[in-house]
């Protein structure tokens, strides 16, 4: 997609430099905190405390990363996060795929109801859900249990996953399915060998999105998980801020960087799609 704004022909002599200046200002605002976090993660405690603390670390040292992994129980927390996010993603994908297909292909009252629900789920503050959900999960013994968290994440990722997937299904031409059916393929076969392969990229994007939002989530985890051994990564990091973070800033920065890697990798992977197709379709839809 080429930029569609016509090249400005009668550019004033100062316009370009000013534009670059503005762009540089934005880049500093957006990028400086990240560079700072990276530089902090490599500094020793003494270096951070010294009065003539320079911006760049004296030498590249990865000690903070090792210490943070040990001290903050990062491995266990990452394992918990990975378990919850993976299970959520698998369930959401399995459950939303048929539903998205039905929403895209059949005209029923369900579709209107689902759309309203998806919109409502954006407006309601989580506090309204969390109290009764907490009570329900407590009754069935799933508070302080990763599976309770999986339930919470599943139902609150479902609306968005459905919405995304429905768009991808709608983009698969019905004609292809009809052609398959006329050629004598069974319904299941049509879905498996025609629809599913075409849906694959959309399915991957949707499941990654679900994974990342569960990986990053904080509020539900804060309420539903008390046991330190079951804490997810954001919880562990938030506790680390209070307890040791003020003393061990380098380790805190290192732990934060490590916890960001999965979602960062995902966003860099899909950034082309984000800037072009996905969002324009989503916003207009």
């Amino acid at each position: 997609m080429t930029p569609t704004v016509a090249p400005v022909r009668r550019t004033r002599p100062f316009a370009r430099p000013l534009q670059y200046l503005a762009l540089a200002a934005y880049m500093v605002f957006l990028g400086f905190p990240l560079v700072f976090l990276l530089s902090t993660s490599m500094k020793t405690a003494q270096e951070l405390r010294s009065p003539d603390n320079s911006f760049l670390p004296d030498r590249l040292s990865w000690d903070n990363f090792g210490d943070a992994i040990e001290k903050a129980n990062l491995v266990q927390a990452a394992g918990n996060s990975l378990y919850v996010a993976t299970l959520t993603t698998v369930i959401v994908t399995l459950v939303s795929l048929p539903a998205a297909y039905a929403m895209a292909r059949f005209r029923t009252r369900l579709r209107g109801a689902a759309t309203i629900w998806i919109l409502l789920s954006q407006v309601f503050p989580f506090i309204l859900i969390i109290v009764p959900l907490f009570l329900v999960l407590k009754q069935i013994g799933l508070v302080d249990d990763p599976h309770g968290l999986v339930i919470a994440y599943t139902v609150w990722s479902l609306p968005f996953a459905l919405w995304m997937l429905r768009g991808y299904v709608a983009a698969v031409p019905v004609d292809l399915e009809e052609a398959g059916a006329i050629d004598g393929a069974s319904r299941l076969r049509v879905l498996r060998s025609i629809v599913l392969p075409l849906l694959a990229p959309g399915l991957v994007a949707t499941s990654l999105f679900t994974f990342i939002s569960s990986w990053n989530e904080f509020f539900f985890a804060l309420v539903l998980i008390q046991d330190p051994d079951l804490q997810t990564l954001p919880l562990t990091l938030a506790r680390f801020v209070g307890a040791e973070g003020q003393v061990q800033m380098g380790q805190l920065a290192a732990a934060s960087l490590l916890a960001t890697i999965p979602s960062l990798a995902f966003f860099l992977l899909i950034q082309r799609r984000l800037t072009s197709g996905l969002m324009s379709g989503a916003v207009k839809g």
Binding site: G31, F36, S96, P125, L133, W215, P234, V283
Partner: protein, 311 residues
């Protein structure tokens, strides 16, 4: 692919008898939707309805406590509660400042990214990064940035000869502005990318026609770009307003509502009521008020937009 997704696709029912689609689409649809429907009804529709009702009861934490409906008692108590008014005032200041400033900043960035500038790829990537970061980590990062003795912000202030010992997050007057800046930083990517996608759909011919008619850069922006971008602007600012009003994790980690409740957003206030003091009914009532407040602002905003579009 882009054209296919952006065009509303009219689902056509395949001809009767082909591949077993038949006339019982309704039943098939139900069967396909059922696996998604059951968990949603059990764990989100039911709790939501329950939550709304809970706002009219005196429910407390702890199982087996008798729960009675107490009508509008919670709401009359809320009206007498100073902290409630304070918290909602802070919540509205926070939500509106972040939404408006974030929109202006993102519009500027999106316009720049839409130009053919060098290093655009780097700016685009940087603009996405905050989106990828969990709110908890954004909060940790800015906490380090704003650290009164070791943070680079104060260091910069000192270098410039300004007072360099400001306790940004701990001082009554600077805490709310400081968290608003962090809120803007955290929310810019979504707004920027959405606006950029909208800008790329503005047709080039319109700009050329306006340029031929002698319109300057500013006039073209005001009369061509902005009207074309309007639906996207309305959609993203409405969503931002909702998200910001309901946000929790960022400020919880940054200040936990302090100092002295200066950054006690409604969600933090409600969380404390529910899970610190165990006032479940009261917290749910707060949630209900939040829904009403945000819905009222949205209706006003969307109505105003629709009216000015018609005229």
């Amino acid at each position: 692919m882009t054209t296919a997704t952006s065009r509303p696709v009219r689902p056509r029912r395949p001809p009767r008898g082909v591949g077993g689609f038949g006339g019982n689409g309704g039943r098939d649809a139900w069967l396909l939707v059922l696996p998604a429907l059951i968990p949603v009804v059990l764990f989100s529709v039911y709790p939501l309805v329950q939550g709304i009702l809970l706002g009219f009861t005196d429910a407390q934490a702890g199982l087996n406590q008798p729960v009675d409906f107490n009508g509008v008692d919670n709401y009359t108590r809320l009206l007498d509660h100073d902290l409630f008014w304070k918290s909602f005032r802070i919540g509205l200041i926070w939500a509106f400042s972040v939404t408006i400033l974030q929109f202006l900043a993102s519009l500027g960035l999106a316009l720049l990214l839409n130009l053919n500038l060098r290093l655009r790829w780097l700016a685009r990537t940087l603009a996405l990064v905050p989106w990828a970061m969990p709110p908890v980590i954004i909060a940790i990062m800015w906490k380090l940035m704003l650290n009164p003795s070791y943070g680079p912000i104060n260091e910069l202030m000192r270098t410039l000869g300004l007072p360099g010992d400001i306790n940004w997050l701990g001082d009554f007057s600077t805490a709310l502005p400081a968290v608003i800046v962090v809120g803007i930083w955290a929310g810019m990517p979504q707004t920027t990318i959405t606006l950029l996608a909208g800008l790329q759909n503005v047709r080039g011919e319109l700009h050329e026609a306006a340029a031929i008619d002698g319109a300057g850069t500013w006039q073209r922006f005001w009369h061509v770009t902005l009207p074309a971008l309007r639906p996207v602007i309305v959609a993203i600012t409405s969503l931002d307003l909702i998200w910001n009003f309901n946000s929790f994790a960022l400020v919880y980690v940054l200040t936990a509502g302090g100092p002295g409740g200066q950054t006690m957003l409604p969600m933090l206030f409600a969380y404390n009521e529910a899970f610190r003091y165990g006032n479940f009914g009261y917290a749910a009532a707060l949630g209900n008020v939040m829904v009403v407040v945000i819905a009222a602002f949205l209706v006003l905003y969307l109505r105003g937009q629709a009216r000015s579009r018609d005229s």
